[in-house]
Symmetry: C2
Subunit: 146 residues, 2 copies
DNA sequence: CTTTGTGCAAACGATTTGCAGGATG
DNA sequence: CATCCTGCAAATCGTTTGCACAAAG
């Protein structure tokens, strides 16, 4: 209920993006997941039943969505870029066993004071990255689900 | 003074690594810099005067150093992996203009309480990433130094 | 109809790997 | 002298790009 088709279309239009089936599908897909997928994961999800988009188009759609601030990238592991439709400030948790990434609410930590950093560093924003073991990997053998 | 040749050799040996000129050079180079270089930056630095190492060897040396915990990677931008010989807990600042990465002392922020995270997430460590503008880029036009 | 997007395949850049010769302990 | 490392080049993987055709507004 959070993201109706109309709401998504309206959001895209408001950002000045043309509505195409592929772009819509990429954004809707990202809005509907919590798992910070890679490009290939998005692509496979989209084309599960019938072919919706090509790899190159997923890349360019993500570029477009990023350039208007609807999507952002998450860099927590080597080699791959993950994507997140949650552009509100928040923190991340990364499981050292399965690699899964979970959001942590901004309110989970007290606000940090950035003023007293090294004098010449003018801070604008920050986020906390927590590493550890997620629920599914406690006790279980390290199942590297990708 | 901080990192004598002997001290470096001793450290490498203590970790069970063979001492080779290339491996030594990579580690010594990283210990002597504060700028979280990429592989190519390390390579160019090493081969500045005379050829010391090849690209593939820098990669494998870094792998070896990482596997014993003497070096770690820093992932703050798309596409490239940077390296850091400072493996003590600390935070990072990334300049949005020039991309430079500065260390922030662990003590710059109060310790965060990880116990009260989502119940099934067992946290082990964390770090803060701050984004903003570094000294050199304040006022100056955005000089993307790489 | 003008502009922008799509899809394919080729191009690219960072990293990895196979292998023969060389250095380390 | 057995083991591990180096260096080259080829291979791989994620991402970008050129271009002809198609779709959006």
């Amino acid at each position: 209920m959070k993201h109706s088709k109309d709401a998504i279309v309206t959001t895209l239009k408001a950002k000045g993006l043309r509505i195409t089936p592929q772009r819509y599908a990429v954004y809707a897909n990202l809005l509907g997941r919590r798992d910070h997928p890679t490009v290939d994961q998005i692509l496979q999800d989209l084309n599960q039943e019938l072919p919706i988009s090509s790899q190159a188009t997923v890349y360019t759609s993500l570029q477009a969505l990023r350039s208007v601030g609807l999507v952002r990238e998450v860099l927590l592991e080597e080699g791959v870029c993950r994507y997140d439709a949650n552009v509100e400030p928040h923190h991340h948790f990364r499981c050292r066993d399965c690699g899964a990434i979970h959001d942590i609410a901004w309110s989970a930590f007290p606000t940090l004071d950035l003023v007293a950093l090294q004098p010449r560093l003018q801070a604008e924003r920050y986020e906390v990255t927590v590493y550890g073991q997620c629920g599914g990997c406690q006790g279980d053998p390290g199942t590297i689900e990708d």
